[in-house]
Subunit: 427 residues, 4 copies
Amino acid sequence: MNWREVLEIRGPHIGGAVSGGLDSCTITHWLSEKGFRVEGFTVDLGQPDEENVGAIADRMLACGAEAAHIVSGKEALVREGIRVIQAQARYEGGYWNTTGIARPVTTKAILDEMAKRDIPVLFHGATGRGNDQMRFQLATNFLAPDVDVYAPWRDNEFLEQFPGRAEMIEYCESNNLPIRPAKESRYSTDANILGLTHEAGDLEDVGIPPFFVEPGMGVWAWDAPDTPQSVSIRFEEGQPVEFDGVKMDPVAMFEKANARGGAHGVGIGLHAIENRFVGVKSRGIYEAPGMELLGRAYEYLIQFVYDRRTREQFDALSRHLSAQIYEGYWLDLSTHSALAALDSMSKLATGTITIRLYKGNVYFETADVSRSSMPHGLYTSASSMEDTSGEGAAEPQYDHESSEGFAQVIQVHARTVGKRQRGGYAK
Amino acid sequence: MNWREVLEIRGPHIGGAVSGGLDSCTITHWLSEKGFRVEGFTVDLGQPDEENVGAIADRMLACGAEAAHIVSGKEALVREGIRVIQAQARYEGGYWNTTGIARPVTTKAILDEMAKRDIPVLFHGATGRGNDQMRFQLATNFLAPDVDVYAPWRDNEFLEQFPGRAEMIEYCESNNLPIRPAKESRYSTDANILGLTHEAGDLEDVGIPPFFVEPGMGVWAWDAPDTPQSVSIRFEEGQPVEFDGVKMDPVAMFEKANARGGAHGVGIGLHAIENRFVGVKSRGIYEAPGMELLGRAYEYLIQFVYDRRTREQFDALSRHLSAQIYEGYWLDLSTHSALAALDSMSKLATGTITIRLYKGNVYFETADVSRSSMPHGLYTSASSMEDTSGEGAAEPQYDHESSEGFAQVIQVHARTVGKRQRGGYAK
Amino acid sequence: MNWREVLEIRGPHIGGAVSGGLDSCTITHWLSEKGFRVEGFTVDLGQPDEENVGAIADRMLACGAEAAHIVSGKEALVREGIRVIQAQARYEGGYWNTTGIARPVTTKAILDEMAKRDIPVLFHGATGRGNDQMRFQLATNFLAPDVDVYAPWRDNEFLEQFPGRAEMIEYCESNNLPIRPAKESRYSTDANILGLTHEAGDLEDVGIPPFFVEPGMGVWAWDAPDTPQSVSIRFEEGQPVEFDGVKMDPVAMFEKANARGGAHGVGIGLHAIENRFVGVKSRGIYEAPGMELLGRAYEYLIQFVYDRRTREQFDALSRHLSAQIYEGYWLDLSTHSALAALDSMSKLATGTITIRLYKGNVYFETADVSRSSMPHGLYTSASSMEDTSGEGAAEPQYDHESSEGFAQVIQVHARTVGKRQRGGYAK
Amino acid sequence: MNWREVLEIRGPHIGGAVSGGLDSCTITHWLSEKGFRVEGFTVDLGQPDEENVGAIADRMLACGAEAAHIVSGKEALVREGIRVIQAQARYEGGYWNTTGIARPVTTKAILDEMAKRDIPVLFHGATGRGNDQMRFQLATNFLAPDVDVYAPWRDNEFLEQFPGRAEMIEYCESNNLPIRPAKESRYSTDANILGLTHEAGDLEDVGIPPFFVEPGMGVWAWDAPDTPQSVSIRFEEGQPVEFDGVKMDPVAMFEKANARGGAHGVGIGLHAIENRFVGVKSRGIYEAPGMELLGRAYEYLIQFVYDRRTREQFDALSRHLSAQIYEGYWLDLSTHSALAALDSMSKLATGTITIRLYKGNVYFETADVSRSSMPHGLYTSASSMEDTSGEGAAEPQYDHESSEGFAQVIQVHARTVGKRQRGGYAK
């Protein structure tokens, strides 16, 4: 839809996901000029790089918004972040999906507020090339199917008026809009309590090493302390509940893990050339120290708990959920079902894992496999290579001799394949 | 089968996979006493910790073997190692399967020799608790279905005579067998040019940090140099062909990568609590510096080359092949088919990747995405967030406005789900 | 374990899963002779071919059992049968897993009774070649890990005494055991309310057409009526609740569906050459008219309800659950998780489907897609090829013109592949 | 792109995929009026319902085309059809993808001709709501990335002039275009030698039973003969080579199989509510008697040949390839790789299967499992439930007693789960 269709069909009342930046100012004022009654919604996601969010509201009002609202989203985001950890939902093997998971949280927070005010259309400032436009779109469609989405960066009239950043700055200045003095940056960054994603600008040239990026949540490994540091994380039913023996709530846990991990260069500078939803390749540099610290500890824990069949199914859920987040389908039925399966596994993930942090690395250090600490762990004395008896053991065991029967059974199939088929397929 | 059945059904001629250690000496002599004509086969896999392999042959003869053979396997193993890299076939997320992939190589090398000598039975010294017994078994069944496998560690009579290491030492000493002075070790190690795997002994106690393991192929990260070092690897059609601009053959490539990676702590101390084939959990500590160095560079390369559908299929192949190696099914039809698919992808993996090594870390540094260097890369200017025109571009592009049509199409389904279903599944 | 180990370690009190047939009589008497106190447990699964189950108890007592119990299992089995339908869990594409799903139901029913009596060992009469031995084994291990399983058909002493059927008959006759006059059959059959499975005997020769099998739950298609008959099934939240408009409970529903389907040859004579758990191929002929009738109707229903992502996930769950049933892992964590996911999907499967039965075929006839009847169906007017406007529609729609934007977006990737890659992979 | 952009950027020379119907005539004339030099390309796919294809060329010329070409595509389509059978690539469980697989064949045939004539743009008459538009688009992008695609049904100007069928007829009549007298039909049909797909029109109302569809390739089951008929198909390396013992080439094989299967109602009236690429649900009725006859016979064959691991991988390939066809990605790298894997499996699919056709049903009748006929079959005497010895057998076997060892090994894991986990996940 272009702005004319929006105005004609849905009327002038419109809400916007606004961050207070140049785009937000420009769009808000431009829509006001076109006759819209704009309400701005800014969701507080615990952005580590953010100014006072209250200032954003003031700026939006100065840009012509009829109202400007700050909505709390940090706790909700951290809850979802923990599910990302439980799912080990890293996109294409690395990126912790920290921006992707924030979009439905932001959208839901805004739509809840819009519903109270009967606002029928949501605008956002995501570009027509990226993933975020689709995430805003889909989250809105799933949560509020009667709300329309308006994306100025896909509206020809807006695009023609603002072919680049310079035209926006000129527009804002000529309209006396209170834009912040542009922070010079060689790339753009999206931020929330779970992590930072850097892309575009100089990062688009893959011939340039990414080390010029200045971490916002920690340091590069070479700037980290020379001494390793150990951390113990206790999980109960899949939730991180203790950091070095101190109980804390999820937000405090992330703040602590971000600080500790970031200080050691953990989760700083993850690099991916990834397949965007729209099909093109994109380069991203990521920071997610808390996700990496907690996520790696969690991975070590589930290695004790999930058997092979569970692990295979877990891996499938992990890949599915990662794609769902990345592509904006976090709120569909297939996500809901996958989370139901995941929850039933996570419920067994109780235990304490100690890891060693050292200059970007996370090493397994120890685990307490006593039944009181890790009640559902499968690491038992049956794991030992040395016990040959099986007798008198408190734990289930088998004689080494039984393996001969096992081998006799499985050899039948393998031998038949050897006799009948291998000549037909091996070179 | 027990030794009596073997002797009765297949006769006294028997071949063995022997390493020259305590087990090999004991079994060889014990079988000779029982009336077998034992031929020992030792496969040279470029073990980094190995004594002169020629000495092994002498020792086997002294233990009663009728003949002792050294068989070359290093080149064959490196070829398979490269396929493991192409498949990114890490077991349960971490371990590079360096022992698992060596078993079929060893077995094939020995069976080829045994066939020349008409030896109908192969023995091996793997225990009845682990994975290797099944890998030897299955590889033999697939390659030579008429050859029987005899495993003394699953033969009750042998188990009763040798309940532990002490009885074997006593037996060897009382028979004047030339066993090597036992290297005191708190764990056992399997070694080849691709990597080392450490397990058992003190490692079975997960309350003990793994840092007491003394790396055999490099250093722990904290002992690595304080200065990062960059390395460029060029791959052509999936094969690593140049190391820092110098062409080299695969074995030289691995030796170089092992040395360079190991020096920086790369791939040293990988840790897994893994699901063994027979169902129990097991702890392993791994060293695979060359695999990690080359494997991570390769992963960065394919991120440029594989699109989303290819990547999804690649990920499925990766998991399948990893399980095939781990569980001993490397030689079956499903592996053969998966490798056919993999090869058709790997053929496009041409390019040069520069990585930065620093204290256990491998960071992406740069890639050359010119068509001459990386002819099949998909990272193009269409990836840019900033170009909004699409006009005049040499590369395929789309207008930002087209995204509006895209969004209009995909919103139909999402809105219908929002209207019809979400009330039925969301909490 | 052999019987001597059982007696020594666990004592003489033993429970058995007994059907009252030749095996049950032989084993019960033989164990009594060895000094065991045998209690027989027979689970009523609504076997269509069964004599009065009360008579089984009498016979077991006459064979030396200390006690004989009849346990109800029909309702529990039907509940699981409905989950099989919800999961469309057909093994290797065809067989409805009717025997596989019955084993955990039987085992649970027996173990519950054994627990009341403190019986520490369960015996069963499944052979050492098939799947059922592993299903009894695993179900017992999961449900009652301290109970041991004894399988006479894997005990050498028993096997030597009873190399074949003749020796069992002779033994029973010489001990005056009340075996039933052997029904002459060219194959063996396992039966319960969900279906019959026929295998072994003459069926092992795949050169013999299977049409000599005499259906026990209906007729072959050529013996079915010449007139098609329609049936409407209403499902609510995944449960079949009405048959031709008449509400009925699950057992009645299956009895009705078995009768109706069987009369039309539906689900009679399904044929599979399947991969047994132990690795060998096996031929089975199956009857499951109610499963086929209800299962096909359910499949038609979910086609209206599950979107593409949900369908993909459903298909994965379906395959996983089918393997879990077939291989005896129905009670593990991965099944539990998969069922949690499945349940969250099934909850939306509400609707009425009318099918036409005709000589073995099940054809889709009609569905009522009104929101009152099928509240979560996704088949809407957006499905129409003809409406080109999208305007004024009550349902979400898109203009045909929007497809141009959609096409412009997806062509970027395809064109890049065409330019950069296709030359590298296409022949 | 709209027609003005096409003309401006690429010039007036345009090729079209034309069928000779109302759409083709209208578009051809309309484009000629706009100043295009239109060349029509009609691919002969062995359409069973088609008039003389030569007549189409005449009609196109009369509608203003500069040239009209008939291109042969039947052999190429049959070759792809056999791959569909080898892959068992049925979409969402039923539909044999007969239209989906024809689109890349058609596109390739046309592009080859266009390349000879330097024609830079291809138009097609597929609508903006369906799958075919994307299949034409993508096939063109992959095969000829420099060729543009023009779709009048997504061009606003064309859509406005022709809101419906009536306007096209009026336009053709007023321009004296030689359109065929419209065959009255309650639905639309796409046809080729592999099958027919019927959709739209009255079929969109799922409250109407589909039995009013008049089969074009056979009869409904109730109109088929009362006597079953057997057919033997011999496959060699995955190719059907003999029909009832008579060798024939692939096209003859399909003609024969279509006739025989259709006569018995086999593959007539397959019904699906399917998820279209663009996300909406669609109803299709399908006829594919030859695909069903050959495909079912092939399925029975591979049940003898593929072991469990191969079957699992095959099932994954099957699903992937089916989605690739349906969604228009048949020419990408992931398809190429999947086909490489499939080919290595299909190579072992040699054997003769006899099936019984009866009123829509296909029953397995017999197979010849001799090594001369089915060299790679895995159905051997090891499959027997009855042989308990394993001795002296020509085929690999195992003693029933060995199963005890097998069971002892697998019970360790299951018992540990029972002890440690089940209390944590079971209700």
